[in-house]
Subunit: 341 residues, 2 copies
Amino acid sequence: MSTHRASISDLAAQLNLSVSTISRALNDHPSISDATKRRVWDMAQQLNYQPNQLAAALRKGRSNTLGVIVPHIDGHFFALVLKGIENGANQAGFNVMICQSNENVVHEKKNLDTLLNAQVEGILVSLSLTTKDVKHFEDVRRRDLPLVFFDRIMESPDVSAVVLDDYQGAYQAMQHLIEQGCRRIAHIGGPQHLNICKNRYRAYLDALRDHNLEQDASMVYFCDLTLPEGKVAMENLLNQHPDLDGVFSANDLALAGGMQVLRARGRRIPQDVALAGFSNELFASLTEPMLTTVDQRCEEMGRTAVKLLLDMVAEQPRKLPPRQIVLQPELLVRESSQRHE
Amino acid sequence: MSTHRASISDLAAQLNLSVSTISRALNDHPSISDATKRRVWDMAQQLNYQPNQLAAALRKGRSNTLGVIVPHIDGHFFALVLKGIENGANQAGFNVMICQSNENVVHEKKNLDTLLNAQVEGILVSLSLTTKDVKHFEDVRRRDLPLVFFDRIMESPDVSAVVLDDYQGAYQAMQHLIEQGCRRIAHIGGPQHLNICKNRYRAYLDALRDHNLEQDASMVYFCDLTLPEGKVAMENLLNQHPDLDGVFSANDLALAGGMQVLRARGRRIPQDVALAGFSNELFASLTEPMLTTVDQRCEEMGRTAVKLLLDMVAEQPRKLPPRQIVLQPELLVRESSQRHE
DNA sequence: CAACTTTGTGCAAACGGTTGCATAGCTACC
DNA sequence: GGTAGCTATGCAACCGTTTGCACAAAGTTG
């Protein structure tokens, strides 16, 4: 039969029915008789009919597709969130288009255009590192298109978002370090225009203050939280404060770098220096010692974000007020910080 | 102004031109005068016109979308391949729809239907663990739709595919272990119906034979290559062969599990037992000691696969013969196997 | 200046479905 | 037996673009 795909009108021709009847039969419309429906379904099977979603989407003005923009697709965190998003969307019968901004605002704008042209019904976004203003998202709101931010968000009360309670997680990690006896705790922090990094830093400061420990700006090193930058951070911190006895890092990767430096300098972990990270990367339980870290509920974040978005998509007169959902993190205590039973 | 998106006919009305002229002007068709084009472009700008890709796709029979089916989206390997795919596709002006089979054939079939309904112009697939027969892909070929397998493929000369030379990589790893003085090398293997695992096992056997080392079935343990299964594997191997002095694992994760067992039993790595894995997972350079492993050229695999697919999409009378592309892996020697300078 | 070409534009039919409205054939009721 | 109501189906417009063809106006040629 070559390459031609059976269409609704092929079915109509075969059965001597009109296309509208076929369409209704396929959609199980109540005003079509059971007998006819059966005939149509059988013929559909026989001709291996597959509906053309594009045509339906065009007519209905509903593409059944959601768009996602993430900074990058590799890396444990986003991969897991995407898994949650994809599963959630599929269950609701939606397809997902995924774009990477590569941590680049220009890309992010382009991605946005792409998704808008593809007529997606809603968009999920986690901002790139270099996104400082968010004018490009105005377009989306003008179109009245549902939009949900997750993890890296623009802080504003009139957008919907799903985030982790980074402050809470960081505070717990700090409290734990202090309970383990740490008194001179350093912090490896990330870019402060990102809500997540800012909140982790804020919790670090607050925990120190609440426990009457000194806050010292030179005990904090800000960087982009890569592995090599973690090394540099630790070198710097150790040089200025040879006597530090604990480190709280805004992510696991930088901490892994820092740990290599500590080991090279002969510090015992956790006896001399106790460590806590953030993210619960896969490798955090494979290092020696295993890293204490904060789990970010990645898949749950994805599922929650997509659920929120789908609620907004379904709500026809778009009157739903923006919602912010905050997920609670979980502190995972492992060898890198546990000093006594 | 509300929610209405400007369409081509809005432009036509504004400018007192026909929709066909607008369409041609927007597409820079040669038979439209420059003056008219400029007027149209200006008006498009002014009304913030964005083309409806769905309508164009329907009319042209070209959706500008590619489909990808992967076993899962988390995990370093697939994430990186996807990055390569997404970047390559975007550069060529294509969108990408990503589906996860969750290592489940039934899901895989459903994904396939989804992508076909969405009218993708080509499909990239890496098979799920539970896919043993591939009849469901017949449909794709009947439709004459470009199809490229990558990494986990169906072995058949008449499909296009991009794979790593797993045999070569595994053989190099084995040769390296042997050069380091290992004589009793065990193997942790994966499901043998997967081409990749089969080839790694074959290389293990061949390397032993080529170096006149004994092949012993009890030195091989097959499992699904997860972390806990790696532990079980190593327990078993050690119990039967307390004197083994090397391990080659079909992936890094199982090896990481195995390494924990070895350490618990007091074996020194690499002095007592030298280790080599496969995949170059992120964590492989974060463990203590760092793991020797084989890099899979993930991003390159993605870029290559999508390039091949796009070539097939472009080739109009679909006469391109199926092509198999084999990428060369790279052995990364690290602490877990390096016994002397 | 007739005939022919070129240039720029419009008409209308696709693409493959969905859907409001009309209608034909029955049944049922008073 | 006339009217109302219900059931099952068809007609035709529509979604937003693309594109083959027709055609008017202007330019070119002999």
